[in-house]
Each structure stands twice: as structure tokens, then as C-alpha cells.
Amino acid sequence: MNSIIALLLIQDGLTMGAVYALLALVLVMVFSVTRVILVAQGELVSYGALTMASLQAGHLPGTALIAVAGGVIAAAMELWAYARGPRSRTHLVAAALYVLVPLAVFGLVAALAPQGSGAFVRVLLTLLIVVPLGPILYRVAFQPLASAPVLVLLIVAVALHFVLTGLGLIAFGAEGVRVAPLIDGMLRFGPYFLSAQALFTIAITLALIAALFVFFGSTLSGKALRATAFNEVGARLVGISTTGSGLLAFSLAALIGTVSGILIGSFATIYYDTGFIIGLKGFVAAILGGLGSYPLAAFGAVLVGLLESGSSFFASAFKDVLVFALIIPILMWRSFSAGHAEEEEE
């Protein structure tokens, strides 16, 4: 192995690591706010890539229809809650939003998709299609279970993953897709080449992480989300709606999943079921921080990325095995140091 190959591997590792870091951060955030281990995060990634590729091919992506169907179910649940409980107007507003937003997006996409639009418009459309799935999934699958134990939530999360994988197969078929890179070309430094798309991916990822950092550290909504994660009763007592926090957390998860999908789709061929493996790698990274530490999760993600690119060169057949084997020493280390992992009680 010479320095050129080493640099390529590191570039690959850091690029994938950056995307895994985003996914790991979202997993930690969603878990701490809602206690849901978002197994279906991976499907949001593959939906992002598949939707983008479908738009590039000038088709109407099936995800637009999935969002409409999900929205109708969510709206029906809101109307049911309105009919049974307090006749609060928020139920009616929510029901209207769940139906109208995906429908409007569907109309927009149906109008624009065949014309073959620019890359920027396609990214925007992809976000508009997939991101509403976040709150819809929360409303349909998890909001009714807000006080259920973690295990029940995990079982539902796994079920949701299977449902979304199946819907992905129906919507996009079994063929794999590649997303055209948003930025073409190579940067040359003497004998070394860096792909512009890889640098672009790392830049976008860092920007998103910085944006999350500002959101959680400096805005009232971000602080409210953290407060819900730290102390749910306390959050409710200052008037923070736990439902609202859950919807916001899932919206962020969908946003970041979609962006990750658009970025990752130009490095790897994405099938309807690829998202699961990608999400699982984000999960390995998140486990390093015990599903509770953002910096450790990000560090773990870079480690996973580097290990993956390294093992794809030295033992490509065992690429995934080596990455997932990483979880064993991590879990052993965590259980031996478990005494320090507990958050102290107030």
C-alpha cells in the first residue's frame, strides 16, 4: 500500500464516517427525546437516495405516494382523537396539515418531475417528499405509545423498518441506483487526487453538525428538545409538549436521513434495503457513546468509516463483518465501565 492508496482509503473513510456521524447523532437525539431506537432511520436514507435517483430519471417517485398514504392515516388518527376526546382545534389543524402537505408536494412533483429539472430543484423536491414522512411516522407509529416501555418501542421500530423496506421495494423495485454526484471532478494535489463530491459531503456534514449544535445550544426550541430528553416531567411542567418534541425529533431525523441518502447515493449503489446496513453502522457508532453522548457517537462514526474503508481494501469480503464485530469490544468496554455511564440523579 502506498501513500496514494492510503489517502484514498482515508478520504473514503472520512466521507462515510461523516455521514455515519450524522446518522449516529440523530439516533442519539431521537432516543434521548422519545426513547425510540429509530431502526427505520436507514430507510429514510435509502428513500432519500432512491427518490433523488428517481427524479434524475424523470420519474414520479413512489415515496410521494407513500407520504400521501401515511398522511391520510395520520389525519384519520387526529380526527379520531378529535371525535373522542377534547374537541381541540389543534387536532383539526394537524389533520389538515397531514393530508394537505403531502398532497401539495405530490402535485408539485408530478408537475415538475417529467420536465427534468436541475440538481438543486431535485434536492429540494427530494427533501419535500421524504422529510414529512418523519412526523407522519411518529404520529402513526409512536405517538399513541408515548408511555410504552423501551422494549415495546423497539419492537414497533423494527416492525416499522420492515414495513418501510417493503414499501420501498414496491415503490422503487429491486434494482439498485446511483445518484449522480452533485459536484463533479477531482482536485489534484501533486500525485494525490481528492474527489470534489467527497469534500462536498464532508463539508455539508460538518455544516449540518454545526447547525445542530447551534440549534440545540442556542435556540429555545432546541433547548426545549434537550430538556425533554433530560427530564420529561420537568419539560411538561414548563409547558413543553412531549408530542411536539417527538414530532420535531422525527422531523430532524427525516431531514438528516434524506440529506445523508442524497450524499451517500453517489458513493454506493443504493437498493431498497441498503438503508438498514447504513443505519446499523450509524447505530454501532452511537453505541460507542452509550446512545447518550454526542461527541463519542461522532468519534465512533469516524472510526467506523475508517475501519470500513480499510477493511474494504485488505479484506473486502469481510467489510461489514469487521465493522459490526467492532460492537463486541465496544459493548465489553461499556459494560466494564458501566459505573461511570449512569447519569446522576438530580
Binding site: 429555545l220 434537550r226 411542567l237 447519569e343 438530580e346
Partner: protein, 255 residues
């Protein structure tokens, strides 16, 4: 006198066991009402049910509105606030962030009133200004109590419910806290004060309820209740001692 809160026939059951059954309660505007009673009488359960944290049966009318079905955040938005026994602070967040989040229900108010409220809290509790950048978990028991009270006041409550504000505090600080509570009444706020320290509670309250095994055993103007021989014997004599004993064994006091 207008009633701010009226509770009728309120029942809370944990499984088949009724923690409180058929409790009635009225709080006029601008008054301090206290609920005293022994450990396990259902005092905290009563507050949590009024706040909406626990499912309950019966009727709760707040500010002329039936709120049985209202969510906790809707009740907070209407000015009904609780400082729970466990304080429920955001331990890993700074004192300033805890206070800012206290004003969360007023986030749509566009003027600078939340910033002014924050400053007023720092003036009321100078200790919190000193420690505004520290994490809440690094505070002492008394400071946490101040923070919990200040966080609730940031929501500009009409009715503030306090669950054992004297718990785990040194006697001198208990007096300070109760003086602060009395000053809230002077500003037109109503207070529902739940205390095991009956002597202290009765000294600031206008009206008192004695809760025993989930039902109201006695009620009346605080002075009359304080003079009732049974109350004197059971709660002021022994109750005060029990309060002091709990003080020593509670983890809040230890930390």
C-alpha cells in the same frame, strides 16, 4: 370573592387502590391555601392530578374553565404551575437555561417581558445570578429550591402549586421561602401550598385543608385549623418533628 380553582369530587386510583377519593377544594384569587397531612395522605397525588400529570376522575374548574381533559402544557399556558416535590430541574443544563425554559409557555409573547422576568428572578434570588452559568445539578438543596420556584415564576402563573417547598431545607431558609411565598400573594398570585411542616404552612396560609388517607378530614380558615386541638396534637407537635427527621434522611439535604 372569585374562585380561581375549584376541585370537586376528585378521585385518583393507582390500580384498584384509591390514593385520593372524593376530594373537594376551592382556591380564591389572591389567597394562600394549604393542604397539610401526614406522609402518604395523597397530598402530592392531589397536586399532580390538578396539574394533569395523573389521570383522575371528578371535576377541576380553573379560571372558570373545565380543565379535566386539558393537557399539562395547556394548563401551564393558562397560568397553572407546579413546583413538584422532586423539583424536576434540568440537571445537566445551566441555571440560566432552566429559567429560560421556565418561560417556554410564553415564547410567543413578542415583547421583552421574558428578559425582564429573568432579570427580576435574578434580583429576587441573587444567588441564581451568581451561578447562572453553572449546571443545575451543581447547586445545593436550597439553591435548587430557589431555581425550581424561579423557573415556575418565569411562566407568570396565576396559581402556583408548591409541593413541600421546605423539604430538605435548613429552618432559616424555610422561613425565607415562606416569606417569598407570602410576597407572591401580595402581588395577586394564588398559592396552593402542600406541606408536611404544618406549623410553617399554617403560619402563612389563609385557608387550610387537612388531608388524611385520601380524603379531606378537616378544613377551615388557617387560624382556626391551627387552633384545633386535634391538629395541634397530631401535626404541629409531631408533624414538625417528623418534618425535621425527613430533612435529615432526604438525599436532597445530603447532596
Amino acid at each position: 370573592m372569585t374562585l380561581l380553582l375549584k376541585v370537586e369530587n376528585l378521585t385518583v386510583a393507582y390500580g384498584k387502590v384509591e390514593a385520593i377519593s372524593g376530594v373537594g377544594l376551592a382556591i380564591p384569587e389572591g389567597r394562600i391555601v394549604t393542604v397539610i397531612g401526614p406522609n402518604g395522605a395523597g397530598k402530592s397525588t392531589l397536586l399532580n392530578a390538578v396539574m394533569g400529570l395523573l389521570p383522575s376522575r371528578g371535576r377541576i374548574v380553573y379560571a372558570g374553565q373545565e380543565v379535566m381533559q386539558a393537557k399539562v402544557e395547556a394548563r401551564v399556558g393558562a397560568g397553572l404551575c407546579l413546583v413538584p416535590e422532586k423539583r424536576e430541574l434540568f440537571a445537566q443544563m445551566s441555571v440560566a437555561d432552566n429559567l429560560l425554559l421556565g418561560g417556554y409557555s410564553r415564547r410567543h409573547v413578542r415583547d421583552d417581558s421574558r428578559a425582564r422576568d429573568l432579570d427580576a428572578m435574578y434580583t429576587l434570588f441573587p444567588r441564581l445570578r451568581e451561578r447562572h452559568a453553572q449546571q443545575a445539578r451543581t447547586l445545593s438543596g436550597g439553591e435548587r429550591q430557589m431555581l425550581a420556584l424561579a423557573r415556575a415564576l418565569m411562566a407568570r402563573p396565576k396559581l402556583l402549586m408548591l409541593d413541600e417547598p421546605s423539604l430538605g431545607l435548613a429552618p432559616r431558609i424555610v422561613r425565607e421561602v415562606l416569606e417569598a411565598v407570602a410576597s407572591l400573594r401580595d402581588r395577586g398570585m394564588s398559592v396552593l401550598l402542600v406541606e408536611q411542616n404544618a406549623r410553617a404552612a399554617l403560619s402563612v396560609a389563609d385557608y387550610a385543608y387537612v388531608l388524611e388517607t385520601g380524603t379531606v378530614a378537616l378544613e377551615g380558615p388557617a387560624r382556626e385549623v391551627a387552633a384545633n386541638p386535634r391538629v395541634t396534637e397530631t401535626y404541629i407537635g409531631v408533624g414538625h418533628g417528623a418534618g425535621a427527621q425527613r430533612e435529615a434522611s432526604t438525599p436532597l439535604a445530603a447532596s
